[in-house]
């Protein structure tokens, strides 16, 4: 049933709101417990906006602008969006943003002393296909410093935003790269309690996605929350 409620997040699969090692959580995390919605009152969050690719146009090649190619190591990222039951999720709008190869965002708030690239903007959008698959081309983002603690550097990462068929499935996350020595030191990555869930934020180098003489390939899969199968609410809805 498309309106069935969503299962709670699996224990340890999501970071806490209060994570002292990531200092910005200090004054921004709610001190009070989250309030559960009363049974039967979750309809708003079970549904979601449906974005059309006609109106929200795809931008699947971040590696160049109209006037030329971006600096850096060209990459192709591909993977699949499924739910927690392993079912492919088609039509998911995936937004992508990232720093350039030098570790600088094309953003006025980024004052890192690394060069901007006139041929790299750093934002894209792609929809998952009928099998939940997606693919885009970009350049490998550079690491960049931040002020969380002395000599703090973010590992190479790409930011993502996903809209599934329920608003409760909304996902904003970051994809990391295999073998990055900064991962062990990164307070944001390490806020995810479960080690397996954390490792699933690290993409895998993939020779099949790699394009000869063109771009290295990385595989990254997304899992959106699954809907409940035996829930009280679903039973009630059959009235």
């Amino acid at each position: 049933m498309s309106d069935a409620p969503f299962r709670p997040y699996a224990p340890g699969s999501q970071p806490p709101l209060d994570a002292p090692a990531y200092r910005s959580t200090g004054l921004r995390h709610p001190a009070q417990a989250l309030v559960p919605l009363p049974t039967g009152h979750t309809l708003t969050e079970r549904r979601a906006p449906q974005f059309s690719a006609q109106r929200y146009l795809e931008a699947t090649d971040l590696s160049r602008t109209a006037s030329g190619a971006a600096q850096g190591e060209r990459i192709v990222v591909a993977g699949q969006v499924t739910d927690e039951d392993g079912r492919p999720v088609p039509g998911v709008m995936i937004e992508i943003w990232q720093a350039n190869a030098a570790g600088r965002y094309n953003h006025p708030g980024d004052q890192h002393a690394a060069p901007l690239d006139p041929h790299f903007h750093g934002a894209g959008r792609v929809f998952s296909d009928a099998e939940g698959r997606y693919r885009f081309t970009s350049i490998k983002p550079g690491a960049y410093p931040w002020r969380n603690h002395h000599n703090a550097w973010r590992p190479n990462h790409i930011h993502y935003s996903l809209f599934g068929p329920g608003f409760a499935q909304r996902l904003v996350t970051q994809m990391y790269f295999p073998g990055d020595p900064l991962l062990a030191l990164d307070p944001i990555f390490n806020t995810v309690p479960d080690a397996a869930a954390r490792q699933r934020l690290v993409s895998a180098f993939n020779l099949d996605i790699t394009q000869p003489e063109w771009a290295l390939g990385y595989r990254f899969d997304f899992v959106l929350r699954g809907r409940s199968e035996t829930p009280f609410e679903t039973l009630l809805e059959q009235d």
């Binding site: 309106d3 969503f6 709670p8 699969s13 999501q14 970071p15 709101l17 910005s24 200090g26 004054l27 921004r28 995390h29 709610p30 001190a31 009070q32 417990a33 309030v35 919605l37 009363p38 009152h41 979750t42 309809l43 708003t44 969050e45 549904r47 906006p49 449906q50 974005f51 927690e84 039951d85 392993g86 943003w97 965002y105 953003h107 708030g109 980024d110 750093g122 934002a123 930011h159 935003s161 608003f167 499935q169 996902l171 904003v172 996350t173 970051q174 944001i188 990555f189 995810v192 869930a197 699933r200 934020l201 997304f222 899992v223 959106l224 929350r225 699954g226 009630l236 809805e237 009235d239």
Partner: protein, 174 residues
């Protein structure tokens, strides 16, 4: 089967995605009772949250060619956000009950320092159905007030959001 992918913060540079037009949900021509929804987001010290991404979703009115029911706005230098949308109507309950949920809008807040986004709702002061709304009724009065927008001029509704501390907004586990 693997659990849902872990959330990570949206960070301070999400504006690379921003299209300011998205804050006006009527931009594709939807007609109805047009309202503005505005407010300020502050943190546990009362300081404005100037880099947040606020998303608005309302399943009512029903989606159409000219109406997604979705909007996104960035907070400004004073933590303020502003949407133009259509007044929602009541939302049915599931489960065979005859009670309607009072008209409301879902708001989602993403920001640097939020490792996972926060869900809340905006209700409208003076709506008769508020008195019976099961979520509002489940809250003590001072907390309930954090979900109820108040008029701030003709067609303008205001609801401030406090992430932490005195008057902390009710955030939902959905």
């Amino acid at each position: 089967m693997p659990s849902a992918t872990a959330s990570q913060t949206i960070g301070p540079f999400w504006h690379l995605l921003e299209d300011k037009a998205w804050a006006d949900l009527t931009r594709f021509g939807a007609a109805g009772e047009r309202i503005e929804l505005t407010g300020r987001i502050t943190d546990g010290s009362g300081a404005p949250v100037t880099d947040a991404c606020v998303e608005l979703w309302q399943p009512d009115p029903l989606a159409s060619e000219i109406w997604d029911g979705f909007g996104r706005a960035a907070t400004g230098a004073h933590g303020e956000f502003r949407f133009v949308t259509l007044q929602p109507g009541p939302v049915p309950l599931t489960g065979g009950s005859n009670t309607l949920q009072a008209p409301h809008i879902a708001l989602t807040i993403f920001a640097r320092g939020l490792l996972i986004h926060l869900h809340t709702r905006v209700y409208f002061d003076g709506e008769a159905l508020n008195a019976e709304d099961p979520l509002l009724a489940s809250l003590p009065p001072d907390r309930r007030a954090t979900l109820v927008a108040r008029p701030d001029g003709p067609g303008i509704w205001r609801l401030d959001i406090r992430l932490q501390g005195d008057g902390e907004t009710v955030f939902l586990d959905i």
